[in-house]
Symmetry: C2
Subunit: 335 residues, 2 copies
């Protein structure tokens, strides 16, 4: 049994904030990243919560991310917002973009936000959910260093590239939240097995020659198995086109790694689409969504994307989150 | 060896047009459907080309689709076009919508088209490609009668629901064309095996109790296997939300079947997003896209989505298309 200590969401956010600022992040940049860290722990995704704070702190110190960056915004067309993250954290760039995107999309019916010179944005659904909380359907794309090979090829060309869709409900929350990577399994899982010296199940990774392997180290030097074969490559390619070619960000095939200290800023990108459902559906949206959700929830054992995170979050808000004690000690030392 | 006869694309379009008009379709409605039929044959997708003309003719005659429908257009917000397909064919509704969508998306940077009261739109990529040919990145969604069950459930709630993305190249064509359904295999393939009395491979379908089966009839009464498990369900749900809840169209779980004559019009929907890449990327788009395409094409044997259709189409434009003789006889009898 792992030792844990239970923290409130406010305590998690405060701890993350102090560690980030101490590492050299400005308070303005640390605030949205600390808030997302608490939200991610609330969602039950411990792998991307406080566990990332030591990595973020290290990346500020080695220059992989500029903790003092000031993102800049432009509006090249009436319905398009562009943000240059200036090699800083993605979170303040997304915040700045959303402040302009939300009223624009409400007014015009749709708007897009293209972010370049950016960094790992953490859990993508934490961002799209905020668009749903503003009453908009949000679609998000973010690219990552390449780890998936083309169908018929063996050299990685696109990242595990997640896509997320958040659909607004009637109560100011996301009634449905889809958030999934293009690979069979998250790369962070393979890295965890590698650290622990364990074999991974078949179907997770391929070696550098494109052959199946259960050795996580060979897999990390090779490629990740795309979910559903060539269709997973298709999704990863779609995300790459949105997050990199459509934003002018760096392609995953040439981006520096998200892990380790080498290579400088990855300069990857994010793309968000926000749509006003009332405009596109002439008011039919909520009734249709409610019927769609019921068709899932009426079946015993059927899972609706987003329900697990919502349940975890409700518990976390009431009771706090149990954090691994070793990790907590590490983060506290940084704060 | 199957008997075939080679037809030019113009001959295919003309034949399809005459059969549709003779069945009771107005020339205005028959024209875009006939053009899409020729384009689909040009792409090498025989299953959705002339093979569908007898079904379309039958559906006009039984009232599953209104061949004389007049779609109507509205613009509820500055960047949103809505089209009521009036239970007619999807193709004239899409044509009417694109005429308004393309200049709007060029001007504002992005625009969306929401279509309801619609019908099977054939191959989705035939439509998104037209947006790319107009210099816009096109994303398309279309829903279908339910055939995929939720993860953990067994009753179908969403269709095999394809998604398509077409990315404009420098030469006025789609440089990349992704077009894929959310199931492991197209439902039309399972129907073909059922007609031929053959077993399907494992991993294509599940029976009504959610168990794997190789009997296509049991599969058609059960559900289609989603590509990549729960992630395929996620993609199908995303498409359902875009094509039905966001448009006010009928959900796949209650829509009448696309095949057979029973149940009246399916009233399903389509949703398209068109984005101006020059606006979102500040002019960086084409260079990034070119590098991304090269990363695929530089690998021996690697497949880039869209390349197979482009190669087939070039050959079809030069040499025509070999059409199954029995099918041709059937369509000619209708014309």
């Amino acid at each position: 049994m792992t030792d844990t200590e239970t923290l409130s969401l406010t305590e998690i956010e405060d701890l993350a904030f102090r560690a980030l600022v101490k590492a050299g992040t400005t308070p303005e940049n640390a605030r949205p990243l600390a808030a997302a860290t608490a939200m991610t722990e609330a969602d039950g995704i411990a792998s991307h919560g406080l566990a990332y704070i030591p990595i973020y702190a290290q990346h500020v110190q080695c220059g992989k991310v500029d903790g003092r960056a000031k993102p800049t915004l432009s509006r090249p067309s009436a319905a398009v917002i562009r943000v240059d993250a200036a090699t800083g954290f993605a979170h303040p760039a997304i915040d700045m973009g959303f402040d302009a995107l939300v009223p624009m999309a409400r007014d015009l019916g749709v708007g897009v936000l293209a972010i370049h010179n950016s960094y790992n944005c953490g859990v993508l659904g934490v961002h799209t959910r905020r668009l749903a909380e503003a009453g908009l359907l949000g679609i998000g794309f973010t690219n990552a260093p390449a780890s998936i090979a083309p169908a018929g090829g063996k050299k990685p060309v696109v990242g595990t590239n997640p896509i997320s869709v958040a659909a607004p409900g009637t109560d100011g929350s996301a009634a449905v939240l889809i958030d999934q990577s293009a690979s069979t399994i998250a790369k962070s899982e393979v890295m965890k097995y590698a650290r622990e010296g364990k074999s991974v199940p078949e179907g997770w990774v391929l070696d550098a020659d494109g052959h199946p392997t259960t050795d996580p180290e060979s897999g990390l030097k090779g490629s990740m198995v795309p979910s559903g074969g060539y269709k997973g490559v298709g999704i990863a390619l779609m995300v790459e086109m949105m997050a990199a070619t459509m934003t002018g960000a760096t392609l995953g095939s040439v981006a520096s790694p998200f892990s380790g200290t080498a290579g400088g800023p990855p300069r990857t990108g994010q793309f968000f689409i926000a749509i006003n459902p009332e405009a596109t559906s002439d008011g039919a949206y909520q009734a249709r969504l409610s019927d769609l959700i019921a068709s899932f929830q009426d079946q015993d054992g059927a899972r609706l994307p987003g329900d697990a995170r919502r349940a975890f979050r409700a518990r976390a808000e009431a009771e706090g989150v149990a954090v691994n004690a070793t990790l907590l000690e590490k983060v506290r030392a940084l704060a």
